[in-house]
């Protein structure tokens, strides 16, 4: 199940970018329920730049590539999402440093680093009703599937399922971080836009993964 790391990373980033741009309105509407409505806009504008500069990114290795993506996102996305997502990509890049191949374990290590980055930057923990509440359980599921020896498509599909379930579950939580936390109890009852964003992105990966890596996976 070991693969070239750069093409996989490129594929993932491209899918995330595409998904962010396609779902601008949906993500924005989610943020408008109790937030300020700009989550879709911020993400779309940032990933548009990623798409625009796509060909110019240094592709020496996966780590360099991810760092370039992180810089575009951190520098040019405003709102809370720019620093958070940029930090996540940067931390993932650090884990990828020196690696030219990777497997599910590599993915889990990169995602865990991203999660720690978000926790540190946002001063947030699991259960605070943020994107972490989808990203962390989905990452755990990848680790679990790896233990079971599942193939790529199965792993990603399982992670997407968990991400979606967890994102839906955020509706029960009271927000403790971010703009929505100001509203206190009134945040209960609606899902966290960041968590749903993560779920939608995992689902997009699950939908396209088999086609892309056809024949390449174990």
């Amino acid at each position: 199940m070991t693969e070239q790391l750069l093409p996989s990373v490129e594929f993932v980033v491209k899918t995330l970018a595409h998904t962010a741009i396609e779902n601008e309105k949906y993500f924005g509407d989610l943020d408008a329920v109790v937030g300020d409505g700009d989550f879709g806009y911020s993400l779309a504008r940032g990933f548009e730049l990623v798409e625009r500069d796509w060909d110019s990114f240094d592709r020496t290795d996966a780590s360099t590539f991810l760092k370039k993506v992180a810089v575009v996102i951190t520098s040019r996305i405003g709102g809370t999402s720019g620093p958070l997502w940029g930090t996540a990509f940067l931390r993932a890049a650090t884990v990828a440093a020196g690696k030219s191949e990777g497997d599910a374990g590599t993915a889990v290590a990169m995602l865990r680093a991203a999660i720690e980055g978000i926790e540190a930057r946002g001063n947030a923990s699991l259960g605070d009703k943020t994107l972490l509440d989808a990203l962390a359980p989905a990452t755990d599921e990848i680790a679990h599937q790896a233990e079971l020896g599942s193939d790529g498509p199965t792993t990603v599909r399982a992670a997407a399922g968990v991400a979606r379930e967890s994102a839906d579950e955020t509706a029960k939580l009271q927000a403790k971080r971010g703009r929505v936390a100001y509203t206190g109890e009134r945040s209960i009852g609606s899902v966290d836009p960041g968590a749903v964003g993560v779920a939608v992105m995992f689902e997009a990966l699950a939908d396209t993964w088999p086609a892309h890596f056809e024949g390449k996976t174990a």
């Binding site: 408008a32 405003g78 509203t183």
Partner: protein
């Protein structure tokens, strides 16, 4: 969407173009960073004062650039903190031997952008200090949130710090002054209607014809509670009851009173609110020594208002009374 807009993505740059064209002699516009700066900044003998924050709150903060006010503003998109890059480049362009002061409204996004931008600019040799503005009493300061929000009271911090900077005060002195003004400033706002971000094209939330939102945020965030619509005097009383006991403002205090419009409320209504607020404060034994009625920090086209009190002493009054110029001129 009943708005003057071309491409929603160009809303902020097109507005900034207008501001720049209206002030050809005094302002400089750097489109890459949504940057509006004084044409004569940076000044080696003056601390440069910078503010970021999202757009949609005009005249805050980009139209507060001018002599005795901000040296530069680098707003983000509508309701979005500026990207870190804007903060970094603005801090570098405004670097002065006397230092750069970041006046930050206390929101997660703004703080992250300014924290990261500060770190990186400092690495390039810029000397930066920070003052946080968090005057909104609608939000209770808990360990969970980033704390109170910065809203219309921001104006008073800019005005007093800006006046002192103009007179050559050192950066530590500005930090002291800024924190002091912020510490005696309290605001509470309420909305009669929602607002419509250009990129969204529809109202951020729904308010019934007979409802109002008490303690609303300036980004359309819901507030303390939704209530039945009250008459103007009752609304003022409710705002005063939230603001006055918070500091608390006491009998015998000299205060500045601001009635700030949130964007869609005409100035006639603001003066109507002002009249009652003034009378109520005097009735409670406070003396309204300075007043401010108009739009200072808006939420796009939201109909609504906020009420700000500042406890005055001579130092603050002098700063408030000092001459200043801004990007928006009536004459």
């Amino acid at each position: 969407m009943k708005k003057f807009v071309n491409d929603p993505n160009q809303y902020v740059p097109e507005m900034l173009t207008g501001v720049a064209l209206a002030n050809p002699d005094t302002l400089r516009y750097v489109p890459e960073y949504n940057l509006i700066m004084r044409a004569d900044a940076p000044d080696d003998n003056k601390v440069s004062i910078i503010q970021g924050s999202g757009s949609g709150h005009e005249p805050a903060h980009v139209m507060s650039v001018g002599k005795g006010m901000l040296d530069a503003a680098c707003p983000g998109d509508v309701f979005s903190a500026p990207p870190m890059d804007y903060v970094l480049e603005t801090s570098k362009m405004l670097a002065s031997p006397k230092g750069v002061l970041h006046l930050i409204n206390n929101y997660t996004g703004d703080r992250m952008a300014f924290d990261m931008g500060k770190e990186m600019a400092e690495a390039e040799g810029v000397n930066i200090e920070t003052v946080l503005v968090d005057d909104d009493v609608a939000v209770s300061d808990s360990t969970y949130t980033v704390g109170r929000r910065g809203v219309a009271g921001n104006f008073f911090v800019i005005k007093v710090v800006g006046a002192a900077a103009e007179q050559g005060a050192d950066i530590d002195e500005l930090v002291r002054l800024g924190n002091k003004v912020n510490s005696v400033t309290r605001t509470m706002g309420m909305a009669l209607t929602s607002c419509t971000p250009p990129a969204k094209g529809s109202p951020l939330f729904d308010l019934g014809e007979d409802e109002m939102e008490m303690g609303v945020g300036i980004h359309g965030e819901p507030g303390r509670r939704r209530e039945k619509l009250h008459n103007a005097n009752e609304i003022v009383d409710e705002l005063l009851d939230a603001v006055v006991p918070d500091l608390p403002y006491k009998q015998g205090d000299d205060v500045a009173l601001m009635i700030n419009g949130l964007g869609g409320t005409p100035i006639s209504e603001l003066y109507l609110l002002y009249g009652h607020a003034h009378e109520q404060l005097e009735a409670r034994g406070m003396h309204v020594r300075r007043n401010y009625v108009g739009e200072y920090c808006t939420s796009l086209d939201m109909a609504g208002a906020s009420l700000t009190l500042v406890k005055l002493d001579d130092e603050i009054v002098n700063g408030l009374a000092a001459p200043a110029e801004t990007a928006i001129r009536t004459f």
